[in-house]
Each structure stands twice: as structure tokens, then as C-alpha cells.
């Protein structure tokens, strides 16, 4: 592949036309053919370009460490993951924590709790904030991934990434949001501050749940591509674009409560455009991203 970063970088904008997309897909296929996958290159690719949907699950599994870099071990490792899930699932049935009628996302939560040693003594669903985040992410992931066992591993690894790798960065995101909003539209920021809305934006939905339950899955997965490959900062730019997109509406609202309520239930019709613009904005402010967090 010709390695002209500038040229490749620009191709993001031609993706819509479909022509550059084909070339990107080919270069990803070359990366995926290696006997030993180069995680760093896969990260860089996902940061720069949208993942073709047919390879998304595979790339996510490799980036999240569910699959090892060596192709040769994929079968063995996946068998272990499958059996582990089945063992835990069976055990939860024996102690009557789950039954046939238990919703799939709750099954995922219980399996995760048992794996992480946090299974409560009583199966009556306690709604800890932590569980709520898990359930929201699980619900969105379930829409994206067909296979239950793949889906479970993706949810648990994604949640673990948020709790470990991004543990310290996520609390900083509201501050960054204010900073970038002041650069993009200081008038809107002033209005939000005047309504005392800046302290009451849906940060939990945006930054803890990573927009699960806020954006439809087709848009959401393009955001998660960036999060999984190493940048939780993208979340800030999605939030900025949401604010900019609905500026007129927000300027007409004058209480923090109403603003929060609106932002928690944004219209779902042009979310794809919001995500595209957010990615452009992110590239604009952070340059061609490599492995920045």
C-alpha cells in the first residue's frame, strides 16, 4: 500500500462516495492477513478510518484482547471463552439466579457479576449506578452483535476498558467539553452557563454509557470504533456536535432541567451526520490521531 498519510487521512472525507472506502477496506484486509496481527497498526487504522461493518466485530475482539494477535490461536482461545461462558451460565441457572424468562441483558449482567466476584447475595435486581451503565451498554451491544457469547465478551471487555484504562480520563471529559465548546461556539456556552445547565448536562449518558441509549446503534458503533481503539476523547466531540446541532432548540430553552431532558432524548433522524461531524472536529483539534487517549 502506498503510505501517504496525508492522502489516507483525506480519504475519510471521500468515504461517502464509496471509492476511497474500497481502498481502505483492502488495506485493512492486508493487515488482517498477517499471521500475527499488528495491534498498533489496527488501532491506528480504526482511529483514522471507519471500520467496514463486515470486519468490525473481529477488529473489536482483537483490540479488546478477547482474541490474541496470533491467528493460529484464535480457535483455541475462542473455545475457552465459549466454555467459560457456558459454565458460568449453567451455574447461574443452578442457583436460580437466571431462568428461561430472564432478559438477555440481565443474563449478561449476572455472568459479568459472577466473573468479577460482585454477584449480590439476592437475585432481586438492585439498581446500582454501575449496573445501569452495564445494562445500557449491553443493550446497545446486543443490537450490534448477533452471537450471544461474542456479545458477552465484547460487553465485558468494553466495560472493563472504561473502568480501567479510561478510569482517570472519563471524569475529565466535562471540563474538556466546556473548553472545546468555548472554542466552537462561545455564545452557546454562555447561554448554557446562564441557565446553570453546564453542571446538569447528561454526562452519565454521554461519558459513562458512551452514548448507549442516546444514539442509534448504526451511529453509535462508529463512535465506539474510536473508543475501543484508544480514544475516549471522541466522546467529547460527539457531545459538542450534539450541542451545536441543536443550538436553536437549546437557545430557546431556559432551564437546566428542560435542557437536560431534551438532550437525554435527542431526535434520532440525523445522528449519522452528527457522528461524522464529530469525527471531523476531533481530527481538527487533535490532529491525525495515533494512540492518544
Amino acid at each position: 500500500m502506498a503510505e501517504d498519510p496525508q492522502r489516507n487521512f483525506r480519504s475519510v472525507y471521500y468515504e461517502k462516495v464509496g471509492f476511497r472506502g474500497v481502498e481502505e477496506k483492502k488495506s485493512l484486509e492486508i493487515l488482517l492477513k498477517d499471521d500475527r496481527l499488528d495491534i498498533e497498526k489496527l488501532c491506528t487504522f480504526s482511529q483514522r478510518f471507519p471500520l467496514p461493518s463486515m470486519y468490525r466485530i473481529l477488529v473489536w475482539k482483537v483490540l479488546l484482547g478477547i482474541l490474541p494477535p496470533h491467528h493460529e490461536s484464535h480457535g483455541f482461545v475462542m473455545r475457552c471463552r465459549k466454555e467459560q461462558y457456558k459454565d458460568v451460565h449453567h451455574a447461574l441457572r443452578v442457583i436460580r439466579f437466571i431462568k428461561d424468562s430472564t432478559p438477555q441483558v440481565e443474563v449478561f449482567l449476572r455472568v459479568y457479576q459472577l466473573e468479577s466476584g460482585k454477584l449480590p447475595r439476592n437475585p432481586s435486581l438492585s439498581s446500582e449506578a454501575e449496573d445501569e451503565v452495564f445494562l445500557a451498554i449491553a443493550k446497545a451491544m446486543e443490537e450490534m452483535v448477533e452471537d450471544h457469547i461474542d456479545c458477552y465478551w465484547l460487553i465485558s471487555s468494553f466495560v472493563n476498558q472504561l473502568n480501567n484504562k479510561y478510569k482517570d480520563s472519563i471524569p475529565q471529559l466535562p471540563k474538556l467539553l466546556e473548553q472545546y465548546l468555548s472554542l466552537e461556539d462561545s455564545g452557546l456556552l454562555t447561554h448554557l452557563k446562564l441557565c446553570s445547565a453546564m453542571d446538569h448536562l447528561p454526562y452519565n449518558l454521554w461519558f459513562r454509557k458512551c452514548f448507549a441509549g442516546c444514539l442509534p446503534e448504526s451511529s453509535l458503533q462508529r463512535v465506539w470504533d474510536k473508543v475501543i481503539s484508544g480514544s475516549c476523547k471522541i466522546l467529547v466531540f460527539v457531545a459538542v456536535e450534539i450541542l451545536l446541532t441543536f443550538k436553536m432548540k437549546l437557545m430557546a430553552l431556559n432551564s437546566a432541567g428542560k435542557i437536560q431532558q431534551f438532550l437525554e432524548n435527542i431526535p434520532q433522524d440525523n445522528t449519522d451526520a452528527i457522528v461524522s461531524k464529530a469525527i471531523e472536529l476531533w481530527h481538527k483539534h487533535c490532529g491525525t490521531p495515533a494512540h492518544s487517549v
Binding site: 500475527r36 496470533h70 490461536s73 475457552c80 471463552r81 459454565d87 443452578v94 442457583i95 454477584l119
Partner: protein
Amino acid sequence: YLEDVKIQASFQLQAAEGWYKMQKNITQLFEVEILSLHGQVQNERLLNNREENKVEQAE
């Protein structure tokens, strides 16, 4: 190449160990469940005895 084999082996071992360790968690979970069920059986028996006594007194 040798390094590759080592890394590959360690990934495999990790995956297998993760799975196996879960089995240990399950054993512990079942242990707790058994203790709690024993407690329940005992409670029900106590209740039973009381009711039986009542029946005897009433008769």
C-alpha cells in the same frame, strides 16, 4: 520466531486459566448456596415442629 511461540503459548495459557479459575468461583458460589439451603431446610423443620405441637394441643 521463538519469542512468537512463547507469546502465543502465554496467550493460550491465559485464556485457559481464565476459564479454569471461573470454575473455582463457581465452586465457592455453590458452597455458599448449599449452606444457605441447609439453613432454609432447618427453618422449615422448626416451623413444622411448632405447627405439629399446635395440632397436638388442639386435638
